[in-house]
Symmetry: C4
Subunit: 238 residues, 4 copies
């Protein structure tokens, strides 16, 4: 596996284990998140559904070093079936469950990216908004699973942060219900939760969301409002 890159293999390894199982995918995704600085300092989290079970990374560990034997197995209600010796379940668990239960997600990640934090601060209210960017197309609408159009306005709800991560559960649920098109919830001064129908979609949407967070902050610094309909732009047209 290379830097910030996931390699999916079809192989059964020498111990007879399926490397497409979440026990192997989650460590790779955590390492990828670490490389992108979304999960340094033991921050961030990762979860993948597989059949009727939900798998989650442990809490408070160095995310780039997680091993296949350190993943928690939960049932579809989020109750731990198999824990990882000596480790604690991620505090993100009830937040991940929001996306599984309300939005039928197949994978959920939690990033502490500085770009997400800054995006939550250049927009002071309840919504991060950006429009007229090609990368919008990489993000599906929650209600229809159709991609956003270039001219759509992508809206990501922002919840205020709290002292204890589990206390975010109720307000994240509220945000998801208020914004059924969004596959992400920003947490101000904290980070972002992003999901998809499987880990591949969660990952690619996370790449698009983070791209747009970073771009929006840069646009603000250049005096361009990210959600404004373009005006005074006169490129070559038909």
């Amino acid at each position: 596996m290379k830097r910030a890159k996931i390699v999916e293999t079809d192989d059964i390894n020498k111990n007879g284990e399926d490397e497409k199982h979440p026990n192997f995918i989650i460590p790779k995704l955590c390492s990828w998140m670490y490389d992108l600085k979304w999960a340094t300092g033991t921050g961030g989290g990762m979860s993948v559904k597989h059949g009727d079970f939900i798998y989650m990374a442990p809490s408070g560990v160095q995310k780039e070093m997680i091993k296949s034997g350190e993943i928690f197995k939960c049932n579809s209600s989020g109750e731990v079936l198999e824990d990882a010796a000596g480790l604690k379940l991620t505090e993100c668990a009830p937040l991940f469950m929001n996306a599984y239960l309300i939005r039928n997600a197949g994978a959920v990640l939690h990033s502490h990216s500085k770009d997400a934090v800054l995006a939550s601060l250049v927009f002071k209210g309840k919504e991060f908004r950006i429009s007229h960017q090609e990368m919008l197309k990489g993000i599906k609408k929650g209600s229809t699973n159709e991609p956003h159009k270039y001219i759509d306005t992508l809206i990501v709800p922002i919840v205020e942060n709290v002292l204890y991560e589990k206390d975010l559960t109720r307000r994240m649920k509220k945000a998801i219900e208020l914004y059924p098109e969004s596959n992400a919830v920003l947490v101000r001064r904290h980070g972002v939760y992003i999901w998809g129908k499987n880990w591949q979609q969660a990952k690619t949407q996370a790449e698009c969301y983070h791209y747009l967070f970073k771009l929006a902050v840069k646009l603000k610094q250049l005096g361009i409002e990210p959600d404004q309909t373009p005006a005074g732009e006169y490129g070559i047209a038909d």
Copy 2:
């Protein structure tokens, strides 16, 4: 292969396949583009000509994970001869064909780099312009294949973006015809198409264009106009 680095090998691999074939080069170039954040979130695209055939990456997939068996083979008019099972041809295909048909390109890439997007926004009109930069020399003039001089003004035409990528075809064609010296077309709020006589030149020119896009945005932020003839600069001279 290391990060953001292409390794060209002369080897015939153990399956008797030529690793210099576009089926192998395109996945490497896509992975390199992913590492540079030009092709995250399934964005971006890559195409290489080889003999009478044109090879293209598939659409809507994770660009860093493309395998040699997933490349489309087209004839010199862009008609698909061999498709990749279960995959769709890139939506960039008609745009790539513009460069092949009008400019006799040997390879074309499409980047979603944030620097290209920002460059298309600090210049509001039909042209990105930069002058008096050494890195201009790494970019050839379309008409003569001679490199730009340090004192030349490099001009990259900018087309307005549209809802569907294929609808860019006509205006990209128009831009190419209006700007015969350019080996690139910026698409505002979207990215850039860049080509060369072969993949090596497409790649090195892409590096120079992206360097200049990033530099131009930084210069604007420092209050320096990228296309202005230097004034008030008094370094050591002869």
Copy 3:
């Protein structure tokens, strides 16, 4: 080992050496610091305690190339027991000893990160201060080893730099004594010393501190005071 990533192994290597020993961990951590640009140009330093002994990287060498045979072994007072042929002990030694002797650290690192330098310059006085950031939770309080709360203000003392690194010893000691909650001391226009109860905690805390240094500078540039209680932020709440 991949970029900016530490791999801890349980293995005894083919020479019968324990790869968890500081002789192996320190080179890996130095290489990780180099990748993060905390230890380029021979700058920076690293030290780990193991049993009754303290191990330190050599001075003035390329930090990414240190080998297991090039680590100094000291007793718990910092006196060299085994030196590394042809090499000099790091000039950070008395500063590392401050953290070992006053704060019972298990590992100490010294970074020349530009973010640390800039953080020491956007705050002009004796303290770097930041509050209401989730990443505070990744940093323990010196007195209790309990994590900071989201609403706490993290304070890092700043000492003025001097001509010779050893002359920092007294003022770093003073800073540690004045700020018993801090696990770090910034040195203005120079860098930062960070420690933890073991190398893992020193590393993860270093990631959090550097994240917060970089974020604080960006916040200042956006006109947001890093240590101000949030006002006018109206995200979704309960």
Copy 4:
């Protein structure tokens, strides 16, 4: 070899070649420069002295792909003794020779870093200047080979760029003679030449110079003059 990292080996390889020879070191250094974006788009250059001979990378090639058989061998006057089939000697050759002949360098590199270009533009005159930075200590004074002190002002002469690289030779010579303490010459809107008594020192000094170029531009953006004696900074002192 990992990203942006040089590994020096003592090994004689399986072909009986000494991997410490410039034929092996130069490709590694070029690849390292590419990773740092100092040598993208075929830009940049590298040269190492070994015994009585001077070895140089070829011109106009992808710097990250140079092979051991593609290095030019010159005598101590810079005359080519062995060329590399099908390749051209770097256009930097006469500029590299300046450092070898006037300053008795053991290795010289040429970087197109954007930070060097920007540093040459935030300082408009003949000199880049920075003071009161710890990283100054990583750079030797040309006259004495003693490191700069923290309170010294590091001065790098800036020459104006020209159309053809070889025409820089005379003014670079002038700059070297006017500034005997400097181990670097900036070329405005182009890049920088940096040397050392061997490749290790050229590399570590290059890391320090580039660190200071980047820092100086950021300081200017924060309203801090890089060469100003600190005022109003009141950290903890003795």
